[in-house]
């Protein structure tokens, strides 16, 4: 069942297209991650659903109800703000209970629901603290509790983890995902971190310059990127430019035809999915490029190599657990599905 239906959303700031014909749906219990670099329009998209951005065109339906022109307070979507936006003059209880008090619930029900949600998020003992007495992680939980306690039809998360330490971030990812599944809450999760999006989302939408470039399951988007931008944005990649000759681009053991008018091809390589070998492989599988190791970085679980290749001026950056000496000649074997060719 479709919870949210956005159709042809448009928003212009002067000549800048913050939203350029955006149409995305969110299903019951689904977590949609919207990703893109800064300025891609992902936050504008989120804020337009919350009612803080007045659209120039398009329609938004929530459970079939047209909310396009409703004020924020009549939409029944709960938004989590990046900087938490906890009210400094209220303690944790009053912060979380605010939305319930507006719904004119009886006092004991408010208390029960607030305590239930605080328990769920493991912050029950903070109930009387003021926001300035809380750590960043605790503030994040209180803000999350405040958003979900009202049982919204849709939860909007704006970069929920961006203000946390890297270590806590990994753990909270799992928690948010588990919580969202447990409450079966349709959710839009905005982030600039593609890895975070891949790991947490049921569906990913990639935005760039106000446009939606691709919508799909994480595996789909990762394995079948719709265009160069998506291929490059998702995953850890190395991009090399190879110039064509007589309408053809030749690299390693493979040749690709260039359409008329194209001068070169950009090749996106998934850096983690390659094999490095000092001997030429016997089987003709995937793409094999020979090159010379120019540099090596130790990354803990792996080494990162800078490899100079004949076909391109750009070095190829790939990762491997095996150790090779700088200066040695190697073959980089990239399996099918781990590289993508785009003509320009």
């Amino acid at each position: 069942m479709v919870v949210l239906e956005t159709r042809n959303l448009k928003k212009y700031y002067g000549k800048v297209h913050a939203l350029d014909d955006v149409s995305i749906d969110v299903e019951e219990g689904e977590l949609l991650a919207v990703i893109g670099p800064s300025g891609s329009g992902k936050t504008t998209f989120l804020r337009s659903i919350a009612g803080f951005v007045k659209l120039d065109a398009g329609s938004i339906k929530l459970h079939g109800r047209d909310i396009t022109n409703l004020p924020p307070e009549k939409r029944n979507v709960a938004m989590f703000f990046q900087n938490y936006a906890l009210w400094p003059h209220m303690n944790v209880f009053d912060n979380v209970a605010y939305g319930l008090k507006l719904r004119k619930l009886p006092k004991d029900e408010i208390e029960e629901r607030v305590h239930k949600i605080l328990k769920l998020l493991d912050i029950e003992d903070l109930v009387n603290r003021k926001p300035n007495q809380l750590s960043g992680g605790q503030q994040q939980r209180v803000a999350l509790a405040r958003a979900i306690v009202v049982e919204p039809e849709l939860l909007l998360l704006d970069e929920p983890l961006s203000n946390l330490d890297a270590k806590i971030r990994m753990r909270i990812r799992f928690e948010i995902k588990a919580l969202q599944k447990r409450l079966n809450l349709a959710t839009i999760y905005v982030t600039h971190d593609q890895e975070e999006a891949l790991s947490i989302a049921d569906k990913i939408a990639i935005m760039h310059l106000g446009k939606v470039l691709q919508v799909g399951k994480p595996e789909e988007v990762y394995r079948n990127p719709a265009n160069f931008f998506v291929a490059d944005f998702i995953g850890t990649n190395s991009v090399i430019i190879v110039h064509g000759k007589d309408g053809k681009v030749q690299i390693g053991n493979r040749t690709f035809n260039l359409p008329a008018g194209s001068k070169y091809a950009r090749i996106v390589v998934r850096s983690d999915e390659v094999t490095i070998s000092s001997e030429e492989p016997k089987e003709e599988k995937g793409l094999t490029i020979s090159g010379k190791i120019m540099g090596r970085l130790y990354m803990g679980s792996k080494y990162r190599y800078e490899i100079e290749i004949e076909e391109s001026n750009d070095p190829l950056f790939v990762n491997s657990q095996n150790i090779y000496d700088v200066g040695s000649e190697v073959y980089v074997i990239i399996p099918d599905g781990s590289f993508f060719v785009y003509e320009v």
């Binding site: 919350a50 009612g51 803080f52 004020p71 924020p72 307070e73 009549k74 939409r75 029944n76 979507v77 709960a78 938004m79 703000f81 900087n83 936006a85 906890l86 009210w87 400094p88 003059h89 605010y98 939305g99 507006l102 719904r103 003021k130 926001p131 300035n132 405040r146 009202v150």
Partner: protein
């Protein structure tokens, strides 16, 4: 910890100097109010006594004038805030054309010498029945003090992150409810600061009170002026001391609300 004796001496001198500058004039006022006889060149009065204090309390007009000043100041604070809060919220949250020019306009009554401004105002007010009238003075004070309240409250509202209001809207609160439960409580320190300014300014204001009110009603400052003009420095000093009292009480009450917690909370 051992300190260099020179530095200690310098510090003590500096502190004493500051005290003399701050408290010196007050000491003079206190001495004068108790002086029954004080001829030059004696550094202190020859005779001390409570005669003039008795006069002050037995003459109704002195206490009446202080009460009048207090009433005017309190109502002025009320009017000033009532006008400044909506205006400042508009300035802080919406794009208003010519915002800067409008904000500077509030400064106008304070930007020029007070005498011509209030003489003009007095003649206008007397034509419309506001001369010799408490409300005339209140209106003049409100107008002139708007610069304090509008400027301070605008800065206060601007310092409150707009997200704090958006969360409330998002959770189902109307604009008005959001303002009452989120914006206004968070603005309390700024509202208090502007109240202090307006209150103290109104209590000490002379020109408007004189030209609009006199001779029909006399605020404490006007009475003080008349007393000192009649070489009755003792009465004037006693009024001056009495005038300080409500200001001190006002500031103590305010200080209680301006607790560090509140200010720290704003930074949130």
């Amino acid at each position: 910890m051992k300190m260099n004796p020179w530095r200690v001496t310098l510090r003590v001198i500096a502190i004493l100097l500051i005290l003399v500058i701050l408290i010196g004039p007050l000491v003079g006022v206190v001495l004068w109010s108790f002086a029954e006889r004080w001829y030059w060149p004696s550094p202190i009065p020859q005779d001390f006594g409570l005669r003039f204090w008795k006069q002050v309390f037995s003459q109704g007009r002195v206490l009446d004038s202080i009460l009048l000043s207090l009433t005017i100041a309190i109502i002025t604070v009320g009017f000033s805030l009532a006008l400044a809060i909506p205006a400042a919220y508009g300035f802080a949250r919406y794009r208003i054309p010519l915002e800067r020019i409008l904000l500077v306009l509030f400064l106008m009554p304070q930007a020029f010498p007070q005498l011509p401004i209030f003489i003009n105002l007095a003649s206008t007010f007397s034509k419309i029945g506001l001369g010799g009238n408490m409300w005339g003075i209140i209106l003049a004070h409100t107008m002139a003090s708007l610069v304090f309240s509008v400027w301070i409250v605008t800065a206060t509202f601007k310092a409150i992150p707009v997200e704090l209001e958006q969360v409330a809207r998002n959770l189902g609160a109307s604009r008005f409810r959001t303002f009452l439960t989120i914006t206004l409580p968070l603005a309390v320190p700024g509202l208090i600061a502007s109240s202090i300014f307006v209150f103290l300014w109104s209590m000490g204001e002379f020109t408007a009170a004189f030209f609009i009110g006199a001779p029909f009603i006399q605020t404490a400052t006007v009475l003080m002026y008349t007393a000192s003009m009649g070489y009755n420095l003792q009465i004037a000093s006693a009024i001056a001391i009495l005038l300080i009292i409500p200001s001190i009480i006002f500031m103590v009450i305010i200080e209680r609300y301006l607790k560090a917690e509140y200010i720290a909370g704003l930074g949130g």
